[in-house]
Symmetry: C2
Subunit: 322 residues, 2 copies
């Protein structure tokens, strides 16, 4: 199976979403460089609108719809960053959005989605309940479903972050991205293999949710077991499309322990002075644990997002309010 997303799709996505997304900065931090013995370039998607790279893919999907499709509105299901991304993209296009969300999702996420004008349908916090609710809403309203990761438009949109990174930083030896459903990693891999073929692409995932690593080894999609990781954005299994792209374009998937994820997150907060969520810390955590040989290399890292409940920080568990 060949990839159905090309570098030209990523270039078109960049033009399509250009008026709506932030061109996020690339930051460096000498403490982090010293810590991992390499030169690290942080592509700050935590500064992206809605606080995560997800807005790129959602925006590309929503603005790729024909007028008649768009008129029906869009629907999605998500407990996380994709919900806000679709809600804002729909508002920007001036169309309706319907979102299936777990009743028990963090209040701040519900408020954000509602604030963008989306209609929320609450359900239980299971994949089945979310899918069923979204399907029912699509049936009732005629709205078009916006895939969180396993669709060409979503992957092409996510790839625009790596495209910008490559434009801003030359001669990268490695580009790293976290992998959950695989949309970001797949888009990154297509962009890098097209525009900087000498650069390696490495995915990173929690050791307790290493289904992408297993999938690459076994040559088939190994589903994520009910995963216990603090990296809440990376609890998803790969899709057929993202798996195919990752299989053909990604050299390596590394893992990180939960302890290293929390330590890396805190280190970035303390030293780089930016807020990243646990999922975004996973590539740096893998570097802390020396899961690959990068001594002295130039490493681009896509910091996937920065949506964190400030009342419930991982290093304060036990002392948090809730």
């Amino acid at each position: 199976m060949t990839s159905s997303v090309s570098i030209s799709d990523i270039q078109k996505a960049a033009v399509r979403i250009g008026p709506y997304v932030h061109r996020t900065p690339v930051l460096t931090c000498s403490s982090i460089n010293r810590l991992v013995d390499a030169e690290v370039f942080l592509k700050c998607e935590n500064f992206q609108k809605t606080g995560a790279f997800k807005f790129r893919g959602a925006c590309n999907a929503v603005f790729s719809l024909s007028e008649s499709q768009a008129a029906r509105g869009v629907v999605t299901s998500s407990s996380g960053n994709h919900a806000q991304a679709v809600a804002l993209a729909a508002r920007l296009r001036g169309i309706k959005a319907f979102v299936a969300m777990p009743e028990t999702a963090p209040r701040v996420k519900k408020v954000a989605v509602a604030g963008y004008g989306a209609k929320i349908y609450f359900c239980e916090w299971t994949m089945e309940a979310l899918d069923a609710t979204a399907a029912r809403v699509a049936e009732e309203t005629g709205a078009v479903f916006v895939e969180p990761f396993n669709a060409p438009e979503t992957i092409a949109g996510q790839g625009t972050a790596a495209l910008e990174l490559l434009q801003d930083v030359a001669n990268l030896d490695v580009v790293m991205a976290p992998v959950g459903g695989g949309g970001l990693l797949a888009g990154t891999a297509i962009a890098v293999s097209g525009f900087s073929p000498a650069t390696r692409v490495v995915g990173a995932e929690p050791a307790t949710a290493d289904d992408a690593c297993q999938s690459l080894k076994e040559g088939r999609i190994v589903p994520a077991r009910p995963p216990k990781t603090i990296a809440d954005g990376l609890r998803t299994s790969l899709g057929d499309l993202t798996f195919a792209v990752i299989r053909s374009h990604v050299g390596q998937i590394v893992t990180a322990s939960e302890e290293a994820i929390v330590a890396a997150m805190r280190y970035v907060w303390e030293r780089a002075k930016i807020i990243i969520e646990p999922s975004a810390a996973v590539p740096i955590a893998s570097l802390l644990e020396k899961r690959q040989e990068v001594l002295g290399q130039r490493i681009g890292i896509i910091l996937s997002g920065g949506n964190v409940d400030l009342d419930c920080l991982p290093w304060a568990i036990g002392s948090a309010h809730e």
Copy 2:
């Protein structure tokens, strides 16, 4: 009394410290703009080396020393960001640094100062003890004292942040900076009045530590009463030099309540996804409280620093570890 610091001093400082300081980015955040009904440009000195603008002034002071002065080493007293700034500047110049610090200063600050190779002299946490200890060390070692704010080299160094801001963002209506000892505000005022005379300069301080505001009103330095503010960088009184500059160049000093400072700090963390310390939040806090009319204006804000104890956040007081 006229200012003994000119725009030419700031330009020379920019050249002198250029190889050592970060040219920090200017970020924008649409949520903040909506919140305060203005267009806000955040000059991110929280990303500066040592985590605060203080490194600019310390670096300019240390690199302004003659060879024979420098050979004697430098000494300072500080419970805060100035200690780290002097320690790093001395290391970069390859000279000795001696720092008087309170025994009870946050562990992370002691570790940072020692990590830069400075020798620490512990004392009690009073101005008198800090001054006496620094004087004794200067006497014993012959080291040159580096002023935290009330010296021309320090003021000129701090002014380079505003210089960069003006180079990066045109047509600002207002530039705001927090005011404690007044080094940052004085340097900012000289830079702005020289390079963008139509732009107003506004200082911001905690309402519970409004000695700068009182000093401007009374036309003399009103000392800070033992101030109870979370903005630990702004508990200092003005010096004669900073007061003279502020008096002649600053249009207005506004205040912010403690509640607004914490709310503004948290809002910046949640929306702009960057870590700022309470002192850096004071200008935004004053905007939240509408302490001046800025509707629709272009406002540059110098975010002074980002050094925060992550185990002791102001919105988690009562649930913190310590």
